[in-house]
Amino acid sequence: MSDQLVTREVDGMPQSEQLLALYRQMINIRYTEEQLARSHQMGLVHGACHTYVGEEAIATGVCAHLRPDDAVFSTHRGHGHALAKGVSPHEVIAELFGRATGCSQGRGGSMHLFKPEVGMMGTSGIVGPCILQATGAGYSFKLLKTDQVGVAFFGDGAVNNGAFHEGLNLASIWKLPTLFVCENNLYATEVPFAYSAGNPNVGNRGPAYGMESVTVDGNDVLAVYDAAEEAVQRARGGKGPTLIECRTYRTRAHSEGMRDAGYRTQEEVEEWKERDPIKRYNEWLLENEEAGPETLAAIEAEVRATVADAEEFARNSPWPEPDTVSDHIFSQE
């Protein structure tokens, strides 16, 4: 796997700064998730907590092409999408701690992360709606004649939901500027995709809806980056939507504190840990002399300090005032 990475074509290769930015973002997601997992154990995260560990390359590779005015719609496993779209670890951790300083002011928690100011249009506790909403964003951008794009991230589980079939068809018939990014981590909770899908291949389904589609190694950040670049160009150029299947794996339990046995083997988990997207990218950067070990270590140290600061910020942040609980049910001045 990583051999393939080392020998890949360098055409269209991102600049060296961009290469390091990708590394930094993946590390940012990883360290934030690891912090949240620890905090969950300590009781500081209140509700469910689905981490993105093992899948960092996808949000990172896709969001690298997005502007703050592009709209991302996400899932229950959405911390990585929020971070890659520009929500700070401070705002994400504070939200999961239920604090007023969180990106949803403590109303939402893990599955309701919102920061529309940077195009983070929400994570969701319901599987499926993100696909339709990203389609709707595409409709807006087409109607308004901008070159913005809508992006849906979703799991393999969502592919079996009517929202997937209806959303893709709508985006196709109106050639909407939308990216459908399927994070196929092989399981929906404990149900294997191979059991739940008559056609367990997502990347070959584009033609069924009349749209371009592609399957990439979701643990190869550069492969994701390239696929997303093409899809974003297609969308911005008015040439319609793209379906991207990213093959990946979550290496932690479905949700923190949940059992992680009985449906997959430890060997399988270990095998995928070997294909860890950060480890592979780190090796690739070193082998191709895109960065030295000191540079990477410096990035890691810097991100580690930021995440530690974010945790402290969150822990010391105020709780939302109970008398604000009814604010914003309707629009306000």
Binding site: H46, A48, R99, H112, G162, V325
Partner: protein
Amino acid sequence: MRELTYVEATVEALDSAMARDPSIFVVGEGIGERGGNFNTTVGLFAKYGPERLCDTPISERGFVGMCAGAAMTGTRPVVDFMFFDFILDAFGELVNQIAKMQYMSSGRLKMPILLRGAIGIGHSAATHHSGSYYPIFAHLPGFRVVVPATPSDAKGLFATALQSEDPVLFLEHKSLLFNRGDVPEGDYAIPFGEARTAREGTDCTLVAIGSMVDKSLTACEKLAEEGISTEVIDPRTIAPLDMETILASVHRTGRLLIVDETFQPCGVGAEIAAQVIDQGFDDLDAPIRRLNGAHVPTPYSPTLEEAITPEAADIEQSIRDLLAE
């Protein structure tokens, strides 16, 4: 008597019915070998196999619509939503198809479908995993709506649901699922539309639903120390609703408080109050009061969640206010 949890009690009823009736099958996400996210089918997969404990893709509208067709053609589906919130993706199938099929076919078709799920606010589950929504279904003709408060009621009402020829919504508050209580052995069925008097009293009547029953009993115990005597009625089913028991109690006490976690506007309390005014107006010595969860989407933060949920102390205060009227 032996104790079981609320969920174990329903598993016992389900197991017994499945053993007798080969047309019963269960669908849902993780209800097969895994035994259900909330342990609602533990042990059954090994006994009845994958066709009768059918793990589904995340296709709520799909499998609800499919189960409507199955119920019309000789089988008895049990749809396990895990979180009841997920039923909303199938709302059209429920309201336009399942609830109306018997009527539109002039009774020639039956709709024996049981739809179950965990409801309620708690544990910072936030707004996509905290809904109850039962007043919406009770508003519509064609649904039986069951909200048990104790393990023994859960078993008896689940048994009735599995014999019903009508669509039944069986709603289990998350805070009750792992509560233990006495549960009779063997099969028994509790009819729909029969309230349970959870506590007898003379000074006022309190109608409490689902998770509010235990909280109300806590409040009433405290008030009893001061000599205040409250009657607590648990309707157990919202549709049909046992108004007779409520009216008889109000006739004795003259005062009524309805405690329900779900929203107040157009809710169960409004319906009960209207019926009491209609049929028991002369019995009332005070205005009817309602205590509900706040009319907001459920927030995540513990401080906000606490602010919107009726607790025993709030119930106690509401009773005091009602008696001061």
